[in-house]
């Protein structure tokens, strides 16, 4: 068991290195720093001096992999690769274009991101699993059919529509909550209600359908027939037997996203003006702040890998076949 987890951990290292290499290649090999500078400073009429200055400010003036001019260890460390990629493993992300420390920014922005993402995740999971169980309980009835059609319709609606429509209806027409903004502490609830509801509603369609399929697949299995033959009520069959087995496939999809909740939601945060990591990312993309985008890629991958690890561990908790292996 422990050996298993350690092995998974070790497996994560080459993956992180791979991610790092891919991003490095994407940012520095496909384009030269000169290209980036020219793009940032406006393609026309940039002087070589301006480009040089831009590069020096960001440490892009160094050679890519090997600094022949430097002495000793500096041959390897005074390079873009070391400064921009290797240092990330020590969570040293450097500075954004506006001069702020990216690492500090990430830490302060995690709170607001979680304040939206966690309720959306928890409530969403609860709502969709309940809804799916309801449909399965009434399976092959009109209620079920109507529910499935509703799900398909809901998942055919663009996420942007939920946000724009919700803001318009709840904030502009009904004036129930502020249209956007964020505050620290308890007062934030006023600002968070709408984004959370929209986050939950936006995810209902596809998740419910997915869970329903999983439940139906389980219900067709032999052990469910056994449970019925024992004289258990449909409710007990569903909750005690089916739900427990269905948790195994559900976990694969669910646990892996838990760590990435830190990353926040791009759309919701930017529409509602929540100062989380999602809106940070969007702003960075719009401002073409390569350093921030690169850092977010690294963090996102790291969190995803943690998610994979958690998935493996949670398997061993719910599936005895793996636990006792």
């Amino acid at each position: 068991m422990l050996a298993y987890i350690v092995r998974r951990l070790l497996y994560a290292i080459p993956i992180l290195i791979g991610v790092n290499l891919i991003t490095f290649a994407l940012f520095f090999v496909v384009n030269s720093p000169d290209d980036m500078a020219r793009m940032q400073l406006g393609v026309k009429r940039v002087t070589p001096e301006a480009i040089e200055k831009w590069k020096v400010e960001r440490g892009y003036d160094l050679p890519l992999f090997w600094n022949g001019a430097a002495a000793g260890l500096g041959k390897a460390t005074q390079t873009i690769f070391y400064g921009k990629s290797v240092r990330m493993f020590a969570f040293d992300f450097g500075r954004a274009d506006d001069g702020r420390d990216i690492g500090r920014e990430i830490v302060t922005r995690m709170g607001p991101s979680l304040a939206v993402a966690v309720p959306v995740f928890v409530l969403g999971l609860f709502a969709t699993v309940s809804f799916a169980l309801l449909l399965v309980y009434f399976r092959a009835s009109y209620l079920d059919t109507a529910g499935v059609v509703l799900c398909v319709a809901m998942m055919s609606i663009s996420g942007l529509f939920y946000i724009i429509g919700g803001q318009w209806l709840v904030s502009k027409v009904w004036h129930l909550v502020p249209i956007s903004g964020y505050a620290e502490g308890l007062t934030s609830a006023r600002f968070l209600i709408l984004p959370v509801i929209i986050g939950v509603v936006g995810g209902i369609g596809s998740s419910t359908r997915w869970y329903r399929t999983i439940f139906l697949e389980e219900i067709g299995k032999d052990y469910v027939r056994t449970a019925r033959a024992k004289g258990l009520s449909e409710r007990l069959v569903l909750f005690r037997h089916v739900l427990k087995n269905a948790m195994i496939p559900i976990l694969t999809g669910v646990v892996v996203v838990i760590p990435t909740l830190f990353m926040g939601s791009l759309l919701i945060e930017s529409f509602f003006g929540i100062p989380g990591l999602g809106s940070y990312t969007i702003d960075a993309i719009n401002a073409q702040d390569f350093a921030v985008v690169r850092s977010m890629v690294f963090i996102g991958s790291l969190l995803y890998i943690v998610g994979l690890l958690l998935t493996d561990i949670s398997y061993t908790l719910v599936d005895p076949r793996i636990r006792f292996q």
């Binding site: 993956i15 990435t260 990353m263 759309l267 969007i282 977010m296 995803y304």
Partner: protein, 374 residues
């Protein structure tokens, strides 16, 4: 008139040709015919297919591009406009050319914004083409219906080409990983786990930003603005493809692992049939239903993704007409009083129709082709 075939046009035509060819092939193969008959038996699927067919027809007409000839000056070789038009533009000429100054509500007779009149005072000026704009006009006075119809092609291309571009890689790597096993399997698994672990949006963002740098630093590669926008569209498809092939690849690998142990594969091995022939004859045909299901299931998600990505600024070229760029442009005007709602509404309604039809059709296909869905 000079016909222009953009890369995306060529791929779109190829897609249609493959679909038609596939239909012919399916007619001659009983199991396929039976499955399609099952799809066809569903009224919902038939309705969805009809809607999709209309969308595809519009997309097809919009893919027949040309450059109109400029008025000929005597003694000079004929010159062509740098503007690339499509057959759809030609069909919709009145819609395309009847532009107003700025916003106007659906079927309005007067402009949306007051203007200083020549006679003095401020009032709503009458429109040039009153009552003809079914969905109103946008900020620069373009007809919204025209924009919506033009958006369809972009949505279709993103929805289909993305999967198509990644398909060969996903199928090849998935089958090889599953069948060959060993270190080859390890390498392929490592590859897709790594790619998969980069958050999709960020990978797309990074790649699109970098690609934009490439496009911007090489303006000489493209003869017209349309070509440049087309390059960005295709690059977007490719990037989306790279981020989404991992799922299909893993699925195919898992299925290949199962098929490899099937007794008919063992029987073939006992005859001394080589690995390549086994993969082509015994594995691939038994995986095609998964590929087909992935193709139709991914479509709607991709159409929706285009809107989000364009909103974030990492979607299609801002000059390409698409649902995403329409929404993005209209969103800012929601704060106006009274609200400018029509271009948003038009984009959402058309997108909803397309995605809903695609989803319903995909469901029917999955039910008919997935042996597990009973």
């Amino acid at each position: 008139m000079m016909p222009v075939i953009l890369w995306s046009d060529a791929l779109f035509f190829l897609l249609i040709a493959v679909t038609l060819g596939g239909a012919g092939w399916a007619r001659r193969h009983e199991h396929l015919r039976a499955s399609w008959a099952m799809v066809w038996a569903s009224r919902r699927a038939r309705a969805a297919a009809a809607v999709l067919a209309v969308f595809f027809a519009i997309g097809f007409v919009d893919s027949l591009h040309y450059r109109p000839q400029l008025p000929v000056e005597a003694g000079k070789p004929p010159a062509y406009s740098v503007e690339v038009l499509s057959a759809l533009d030609a069909l919709l000429t009145p819609l395309r050319t009847h532009t107003e100054k700025t916003y106007s509500a659906p079927l309005a007779t007067h402009s949306f914004a007051k203007e200083t009149q020549e006679a003095g005072g401020r009032d709503f000026p009458p429109l040039k083409y009153p009552g003809t704009h079914l969905f109103g006009t946008d900020k620069v006075g373009q007809d919204v219906l025209y924009l919506t119809l033009k958006s369809i092609r972009t949505g279709l291309l993103i929805g289909t080409l993305t999967t198509l571009i990644m398909l060969p890689a996903a199928v090849l790597l998935g089958i090889v990983a599953g069948y060959v096993g060993g270190w080859v399997d390890d390498v392929i698994q490592y590859l897709y786990t790594t790619l998969n672990s980069i958050p999709g949006v960020l990978l797309i963002a990074a790649a699109v930003l970098m690609m934009q740098v490439v496009i911007d630093t090489h303006p000489d590669w493209f003869a017209t603005a349309a070509e440049r926008a087309d390059a960005r569209l295709l690059a977007l498809c490719a990037i989306l493809g790279i981020t989404s092939w991992t799922g299909l690849c893993r699925l195919l690998r898992g299925e290949t692992l199962k098929l490899r142990e099937m007794e008919y594969v063992q029987a073939a091995r006992a005859f001394g049939v080589g690995p390549l022939a086994i993969m082509l004859r015994h594995i691939l045909p038994n995986l095609m239903h998964i590929v087909l299901i992935a193709l139709v299931m991914d479509f709607s998600g991709l159409v929706l993704a285009e809107a989000v990505l364009s909103y974030v600024g990492i979607g299609v070229d801002p000059n390409t007409i698409s649902f995403g760029t329409m929404i993005n442009a209209a969103r800012l005007e929601l704060a106006r009083e009274p609200m400018v709602w029509w271009s948003l509404a038009a984009a959402f309604v058309f997108m909803f129709a397309l995605v809903l039809a695609a989803n319903l059709f995909a469901d029917a296909v999955r039910d008919a082709f997935d042996p597990r869905a009973a």
